[in-house]
């Protein structure tokens, strides 16, 4: 058998891995820049963590996220993982490197995370994530900043229609505690919540020996949605949960003042990962993305697992999902502002450098190259510029027009 019989075809990639081509890369970069600029306006300073970490370090978070991590070994046989998300490494960084920071600490991050793809599902193994964490600040005021920042960042990236789902695991915990739900039932309820199985939740809850109003409330708890009225209803039936409800009501008041009322949906069914979150849980949804484009919440217990107890709230945006939602909103990519200049590599060198100094991207060809139009088509450049005796001809491919120009720099700049 010749070697060609066993090697994969040229360009084959491992399952879940993929290349990013120029159009997508440019769009992803623009999205990332918009997010970063928003984080910076709120004073969130960027940090970076390594792609590879010790598995045992990340296991401290007990988040279950390691189940789908890529694992490898170092020379000493210790287990390493490619970080499956960025929240936990950033929590580790804050707790260990910024331990003497007076607080509150505001940090942001952008980078790839890695998860083993599941067969039969369209899920990539590498995900770019961007996020912001507010550490050392408790209370609904900090929660509100996090939600507001998420809304602003997604808006800055170009997403107009957003819904932010807001839940609170501490409200659910308080209700379960006040109703003295036994531990084994709690475990089954937690599992049902994790699997988003409202049928199993209702069945478990309706078997409990409770008063009718309490049982009804508990059975329907993860299906409760609306606005502040949700917490009014909970507190009316379970007075012991009133402090947690008051906290959420305060958060909603703050968000209303920021003009977010229409974007926020209170949903007590958002109950991810009980082990990890301690209060607020948030998810952001956009049409065109089948999963939340962002998720996060309050996890006051996480930092303590790395030795520096501090309350924390934050979120992570999934960049590929956000980009997918944006691609659906914006339709076909628009032509890119740039000029394919025939002769830019030889006869028109001076013009090429003049245009570039004027901030106009120049894609240079030799004066005999006949591929200008094909190149502009393939790469999406808006203009083709070619000498026409003593002046130039500008083809504007977006407008479908062609004009003669004696001063290309001025004329092109005016079209920007």
């Amino acid at each position: 058998m010749s070697p060609t019989d066993v090697s994969p075809p040229a360009g084959a990639l491992p399952s879940g891995a993929r290349d990013v081509l120029p159009v997508e890369a440019a769009e992803l970069r623009a999205v990332e820049n918009a997010l970063r600029a928003t984080f910076a306006r709120y004073g969130y300073r960027e940090v970076r963590t390594p792609v590879v970490e010790f598995a045992e370090q990340l296991e401290r978070a007990n988040s279950g996220g390691l189940e789908r991590a890529f694992r490898l070994f170092d020379q000493a046989g210790r287990v390493l993982v490619l970080r499956p998300d960025l929240t936990i490494p950033v929590a580790r960084l804050i707790a260990t490197r910024l331990a003497d920071h007076p607080g509150p600490i505001r940090v942001s991050y952008t980078g790839p995370s890695f998860r083993v793809p599941q067969p039969g599902r369209p899920v990539a193994s590498e995900h770019r994530q961007a996020g912001a964490e507010l550490v050392g600040a408790d209370g609904p005021e900090a929660d509100a900043e996090s939600v507001l920042l998420l809304r602003e960042a997604l808006g800055a990236a170009g997403l107009e229609q957003i819904r932010i789902g807001v839940g609170d695991v501490s409200v659910t915990e308080a209700v379960l505690g006040a109703l003295a739900v036994p531990a084994d039932v709690r475990a089954r309820l937690a599992r049902a919540a994790e699997e988003r199985d409202l049928v199993a939740w209702r069945r478990e809850a309706s078997l409990l020996p409770l008063g009718d109003a309490e049982r009804e409330l508990l059975a329907g708890l993860p299906a409760m949605r609306g606005h502040a009225d949700v917490f009014t209803r909970v507190a009316a039936v379970v007075p012991d949960a009133a402090p947690e409800c008051a906290r959420m009501t305060r958060l909603l008041t703050l968000l209303d003042r920021e003009g977010l009322r229409d974007d926020v949906l209170v949903d007590l069914g958002i109950l991810r990962d009980w082990q990890y979150y301690s209060g607020l849980v948030i998810e952001a949804y956009a049409a065109g993305a089948a999963l939340p484009v962002a998720q996060g919440g309050r996890y006051d217990g996480l930092a303590a697992r790395f030795g520096t107890p501090r309350p924390a709230v934050g979120f992570t945006i999934e960049l590929e999902l956000l980009h997918r939602a944006l691609a659906g909103v914006n339709g076909a990519p628009r032509p890119v502002f740039g000029v394919v200049l025939v002769g830019g590599l030889d006869d028109e060198l001076e013009l090429a450098s003049e245009l570039r100094s004027g901030g106009i991207p120049v894609i240079a060809l030799t004066s005999t190259d006949t591929r200008a139009d094909a190149l502009a088509d393939a790469e999406g450049w808006r203009f083709v510029l070619v000498r026409d005796r003593d002046v130039f001809r500008i083809d504007d491919r977006a407008a479908g027009t062609s004009a003669r120009s004696a001063r290309p720099l001025e004329d092109l700049s005016s079209l920007r």
Binding site: R163, R196, V199, A290, P292
Partner: protein, 209 residues
């Protein structure tokens, strides 16, 4: 919409919940139907229903709990629709149950099934080793022709088992049709989905009463 055994009952419960299902009744060989109010119905194999819903190609879907347990899709399971009741069971050839004997002597039980994840989880949870043989239909053949020691399959009345000389030995779980929703649609279309869920719940209650 799941084609097959659940299809007629699914149409009936939607109709009872005042959903316009006339395009589905007119049938034909189309796979996608649009109602006058803009509702689009997608008909597909039951095992593909969670796939469409998880990917957001459909906002909501109707599918059996058996398929959910096997596929474990990342979706909301909103409502037990009450119909399509059946049970996932472990069955072996009639006569003495040789399961214990096989495990004692051979260490491992061979089980044919269309539901490998469900079967594996069940036998693992009950401390028994299995070798799963994934088949795509006529699971009952397994023990008859010596492909496997037993089967894990869905039974409604048990008639198919009896006719093929098989006896139910253990029940894994009970199944019925469920309403599921995509994670994002469930929030973006919260008002629509909550209203429909409430109407369906009412229809199911009336039916059951």
């Amino acid at each position: 919409m799941p084609l097959g055994a659940l299809y007629d009952d699914a149409i009936a419960v939607l109709e009872a919940a005042r959903v316009d299902v006339t395009p589905l009744r007119d049938g034909g060989r189309k796979l996608v139907f649009e109602a006058p109010d803009g509702t689009v119905f997608i008909t597909t194999r039951p095992s593909d229903v969670p796939t469409y819903v998880e990917a957001g190609a459909a906002d909501i879907g109707i599918v059996g709990r058996d398929v959910i347990n096997e596929r474990r899709p990342d979706v909301y399971e909103l409502l037990d629709l009450g119909f399509g009741e059946c049970r996932m069971v472990y069955a072996t050839a009639a006569g003495e149950d040789r399961t214990g004997q096989i495990i004692a002597r051979l260490g491992v039980l061979r089980v044919a099934t269309k539901y490998p994840r469900v079967a594996e989880a069940y036998f693992t949870a009950t401390g028994r080793q299995v070798e799963l043989v994934k088949v795509n239909g006529s699971v009952e053949l397994g023990p008859i022709v010596g492909l496997s020691d037993g089967i894990v399959d869905l039974v409604a009345t048990g008639r198919t088992l009896r006719e093929n000389g098989l006896v139910e030995r253990e029940e894994l779980f009970g199944s019925s049709a469920r309403l599921i929703a995509n994670r994002v649609s469930h929030k973006l279309r919260a008002e629509d989905i909550d209203a429909l869920t409430a109407r369906l719940a009412q229809a199911v209650d009336t039916e059951g009463a």
